[in-house]
């Protein structure tokens, strides 16, 4: 922005001052640079660690559909499918609820409750993921398997998505927990996008006789939709990389199935679950590292995309705000 202007008027008067500036600039520059470079060195190192597995498995790792550790069959496909399934459930359940929360906080709530309520919602993000997992094992999984799953089976059994009576450790349970976990992220960014909508939008709709609901739908949601979209993508990024809560509730079976009540596994939970036994075996370790490489690429794509969308969505809003 105005950064170049900030220092424009500055002219060093003495060599000492210049030396201090040079040293300080060099120090912060080197730290920032080396932290940045280190990440990519580590990425290269991780790819190197995954190399034995890449060499032995080749493209089969990306195309095979059945995982059988006993026969030496390793493939990332069932893990990717499981990751997409659980993240899909999380988005389907979590995004509408988050948008509802954002609407309530930015459009409807009285001013005094907005701050404390936002804080309480954000506490959901502060709860460690392993505690979600513990709660999932002893509370959510039994509740779902006794009270919710039978209803889903009888109502929606014909879709093949809900069948049988698994013990509650399923893709559905993991997806529900992920939905809860992405709510604070998606809600707070959506709320920001909605609060950045200029008031003239609301005033215009209200002056035409629109109700609060119509104002929100026409004036606010249309304006903030790309911000909300970015928030959802960011939520997807969180759901894809979430490890412990999923590893504890998904049941860990690398089999592809349509049935959401079957156990499954994700890339992250496969790594966490096998880290104990498999690191003694160099080949299995490199398989786990190759899964991590795939997860890295997926997460990088999602997060870069989300940042680009959000950056674009917030920019015109900011310049619009300055004009008011």
């Amino acid at each position: 922005m105005d950064m170049r202007l900030r220092w424009a008027s500055f002219r060093p008067k003495s060599i000492r001052a210049l030396g201090g500036d040079f040293a300080f600039h060099l120090l912060v520059g080197i730290v920032a640079f080396s932290a940045f470079i280190l990440v990519w060195v580590l990425v290269a190192q991780m790819v190197y660690g995954a190399y034995p597995s890449m060499k032995a498995l080749g493209f089969r790792f990306l195309t095979d559909t059945s995982w059988d550790a006993g026969k030496g069959l390793f493939t990332v496909i069932p893990l990717v499918v499981g990751t997409l399934t659980t993240s899909g459930i999380a988005l389907l359940l979590g995004v509408p609820i988050s948008v509802g929360i954002a609407i309530y906080l930015s459009e409807l709530s009285p001013a005094w409750i907005r701050e404390p309520l936002s804080f309480v919602i954000e506490l959901l993000a502060a709860v460690p993921s392993v505690i979600y997992g513990l709660w999932g094992i002893y509370f959510l999984a039994p509740v779902l398997s006794h009270n919710v799953d039978p209803i889903l089976v009888s109502l929606l059994g014909w879709t093949n998505l809900f069948q049988g009576t698994a013990g509650g450790f399923s893709k559905l349970t993991a997806g529900v927990i992920l939905a809860i976990m992405i709510i604070p992220t998606v809600a707070s960014i959506s709320k920001e996008a909605m609060m950045a909508v200029p008031n003239s939008q609301r005033e215009a709709a209200l002056s035409l006789g629109a109700t609060r609901y119509q104002t929100t739908r026409i004036g606010v949601l249309t304006y903030a939709r790309s911000g909300i979209f970015g928030a959802a993508i960011l939520g997807l990024g969180r759901a894809v990389g979430e490890t412990m809560a999923v590893a504890m509730t998904i049941g860990n079976s690398p089999k592809i199935s349509w049935n959401l009540l079957d156990p499954g596994t994700t890339m992250a939970s496969m790594i966490a679950n096998n880290w104990g036994e498999d690191i003694g075996d160099p080949f299995k370790l490199s398989v786990l590292l190759e899964i991590a490489v795939v997860l890295f690429v997926v997460a990088l794509l999602i997060n870069v995309f989300a940042r680009l969308v959000i950056g674009k969505a917030m920019k015109p809003v900011q310049s619009g705000g300055a004009g008011l």
């Binding site: 600039h25 940045f36 919602i121 502060a126 392993v130």
Partner: protein, 296 residues
């Protein structure tokens, strides 16, 4: 009834239903939070005792070494992560108006939300040869999680400092580096402290990156090069164990961990509340300045 009245009533009804739906979304989100807190407090409370907190996992069936491990990991991670994060934030905010600065800023945003298990494995893949499974390795992984978060909050805090202060300092002939250290940091301090505390709170609850780096141990960790138990990993290893002691350990550790993390968050909240007020005042002043400049 005329048509207008009927559509008016319908619109009012829809409005009411939509508002109720939005409010119920909030309630739906609060139920799991309440349920988690109740479960952890009820089941964890029974486990807590002095022996439980002070004994290592074996012998004695406590979680003492896990508590100490979590504190040690947070300490060493902050030792590495806070300075690097703060200096990176200063670079981006004060010297970063170039391609490289913008690149770093973009990747800070990207890595601030990155899957923590991947970051743990990145740290593992290079540093395992030097440190083995140890507190140090875990601290490096956690520091890597902290750096983008701290850099972002530092940058934001420095951006909040009004430009007029910087200009005033430079006008007095204070060199740039001294301006940053004495003027910018002094004024942005509270925001930076908040960001640092939030980052520490976040790494305290991280599980996956510790699992792949600091591993687990039944005994006290005697030096930073030993593997250690930590509260999150203790929960993970005991959660699915059928024995009563193990489950008690899991719930007790969960209670201690949640108290630690939530109290951190609440303290940060109380701090930011005061800041926001100050910052708002500053912003008002700033925009007033800008306007007077424009009119002049």
């Amino acid at each position: 009834m005329s048509l207008e009245i009927r559509t008016y009533k319908r619109r009012k009804l829809v409005n009411l239903l939509a508002s109720a739906a939005a409010l119920s979304c909030v309630v739906v989100a609060l139920i799991p939070l309440a349920s988690i807190l109740v479960e952890v407090i009820v089941k964890g409370y029974g486990a807590l005792s002095w022996g439980f907190i002070s004994n290592p996992i074996i012998p004695g069936g406590g979680i003492g070494n896990a508590i100490l491990g979590t504190l040690q990991l947070a300490f060493y991670a902050s030792l590495i992560g806070l300075p690097v994060g703060i200096l990176t934030g200063i670079y981006v905010s004060e010297f970063g108006d170039n391609g490289f600065g913008r690149t770093i800023r973009f990747f800070n945003d990207v890595f601030a939300n990155f899957p923590s298990i991947v970051i743990g494995l990145l740290a593992y893949s290079l540093f395992i040869t030097y440190f083995g499974f140890s507190i140090l390795l875990g601290a490096i992984a956690l520091a890597m999680i902290m750096i983008p978060v701290v850099a972002n909050t530092t940058e934001e805090a420095l951006r909040m400092v009004p430009n007029s202060l910087r200009e005033a300092s430079l006008a007095l002939g204070v060199p740039r580096w001294k301006t940053v250290l004495k003027v910018m940091i002094t004024n942005g301090k509270s925001g930076m402290v908040t960001g640092a505390l939030l980052a520490i709170a976040r790494i305290t609850g991280e599980t996956a990156p510790i699992l792949v780096t600091a591993r687990y141990s039944y005994y006290w960790a005697l030096s930073p090069s030993d593997p250690t138990a930590s509260l999150p990993v203790a929960i993970w290893f005991n959660a699915l164990d059928q024995s009563a002691t193990a489950q008690q350990q899991a719930w007790g550790a969960a209670l201690v961990l949640i108290i630690l993390v939530l109290s951190f968050n609440i303290v940060v909240r109380l701090l930011t509340r005061r800041n926001r007020f100050n910052n708002n005042n500053r912003m008002v002043k700033k925009s007033w300045l800008r306007k007077s400049k424009q009119s002049a």
